[in-house]
Amino acid sequence: MSDHADQILPHGRVLRYAFAERANHWIAAFSYIYLLLTGLAFWSPWLFWIAVALGGGQISRMLHPWAGLFFFYAVLRMYGYWAPQMRTTEVDKQWWNSLRHYVRNEDEQMPPAGRYNAGQKALFWSFFYAAIVLLLTGVVLWFPEWIPWNLRWLRYLSVLLHPVAALFTIANFLIHIYMSVFAERGAFGSVIRGDVSLEFAKRYHPGWYEEIVGKPAPRK
C-alpha cells in the first residue's frame, strides 16, 4: 500500500494505512510485546516472575523464538510496504536540525515532512536492522547445543548482541508508544481504522498532504 494515491475519505479524512498494513502492524506489535515481556524475564532476575506468569519458564523459552519468527516476518512485510518511502531526503536533514522544536511541540517551526518524518524513518530503520541482528543471534541462542565448542565465538557474540539489539528496540518501542498513543492524537486511529484527518496530515506531514490534495499545505 505504498502508492501515493491515498484515498480521500468523506468528512475530511484520508486513508493512511490499508487493512493489510494494519493487520501486519498488529502481528508485529503483539509478537513484540510477548518478546519484550519474556525477554525482560530472561534479562533480569527481578523480572523472571513475568515468565512464570506467562506459562512458566520452560514455555516462555520455548515460545520466545517462535514469536521472534512472527515478529521478523512482520518486519519483512513492513519493509516491503514502506521501505521506499523511508529513504532520507533533504527535508530530513533540516528536520533533525529542528529537533528542539519538535520536542517542545512547536510543530509549526518544523520543515514540511513527507509521508514519514525523519524521526519515523530513523525508527523504521532502527527496528529493521535490530530485527535482523535479533533474528541471527536469536537463531544461535535458540539452538545453542548445535554450535560446537570450536564455534563457540558465535555463542559468545550472540549472547551479548541479542540483548544489545533488544535494548535498541526497547528504546524505539518506548518512543513509538509515546508518540503514537500520547503525543500525536489521531496516530493510534491510523493503525486501527486506517484513516486520519486532513488536518492531521496538514499538521504533521505537510509534504504528504500536498501529494494527496494537490496543493501545498497552508503554513500556520
Binding site: 468528512h11 533480569s44 520452560q58 517542545r104 511541540n105 545453542p144 547445543e145 540483548p163 503525543a183 492524537r185
Partner: protein, 298 residues
Amino acid sequence: MSQATLRIQKISGHAGSIPGEGAQRQSAVAKLIDTTTCIGCKACEVACVEWNDMPFSPTEFNNTYQTMPETRWNYWNLILFSEREKEDGSLMWLMRKNQCMHCAEPGCLEACPSDGAIVQYTNGIVDFQQDKCIGCGYCITGCPFNIPKFNKETKRVYKCTLCVDRVGEGLEPACIKSCPTGCLHFGSKDDMRVLAEQRAEQLRTHFNFPDAGVYDPPGVGGTGVIYVLHDAKQPDLYGGLPKDPRIPLSVRLWKGPLKWLGNLAMVGGVIGLFVHYLRFGPKERNVELKEPHEGAEP
C-alpha cells in the same frame, strides 16, 4: 527444608539475598585428580554411569581408546586420551579425567537466567536443578570447560554433580571410590591442595618432571576439582584443558556493565517520557481546530 536452603550459597537468576550465604562455616570439598598415576582404566566412568543409573548411548570407534569425543547429557565423566611426543623423542600417553570442575565462581550459574536452576552449595558443589531449568543453554556459553550438555528430548542440561547425594551423606563420590590406583582423592579443598602440592613437589624433585604442578585456576576463583599435571605449563596437552579459564568476556559484559546500562536506560527512558508529557503534553494542545466536522477527530 530449612537445612537444605541453608546449605545453598549461590542461586542462578535470583533477585535478592540468599538465605544460606555465609550461614555455614565454609568447608569446601574438592576432588584431586593425579594425572600422573591415572592408568585410564575407566573404572570411574563406569562408576559414574552406574551410580547415576544413566541410560546407555551408542558409541563408535574413533581411532582412540577414548570412549567418546566429549561428555554427554548421560555421560558426565570421561577420560581424555592424548599422545604427546616430547622433544627428546619419547612419548607420553596423557590421560585426564574430564568432568565438571565445580568452579568457585561458576560461569554456568552466572549466565543462567532461571531462578534456582543452578545452585552452589556451601561445600562448593555446583548442581543443576533440572526442574527449574528452562533449557536456554546459556550455561553452555558461560562454561569455559565445555561441560553442560543438552538433552533434546527433555530440553534440560546435565552434568557431573560431584555425587552431591553421596557427599551429603558423608560418602566420597562414586568415581573416587572406584579408582584402583588411588589417583583420585577426595576431602576438604585445603587438604587436597596440600596433597596436590606434595605430589607435584615429589614429581619435580624425584621424577624428572620440572614443570609438574597443580591446576587450580584462579580465573574462576579456583575449582572444586584440581589436577596434578606432569606439565602444568601446558595444560592444553591434556585433552584441551584451558590454560587460564575465565567466564567468557561477553558473558561478563552482558551480566555486568550492560545490565546496569540497560536498566538505567530503560527506567530512565520511561521516566524521561513521563516527565516530557508533564512538561509539554500532547502535540495538538496549542492548535485551534479549524472547521470541526461531525465525528471528525482533531
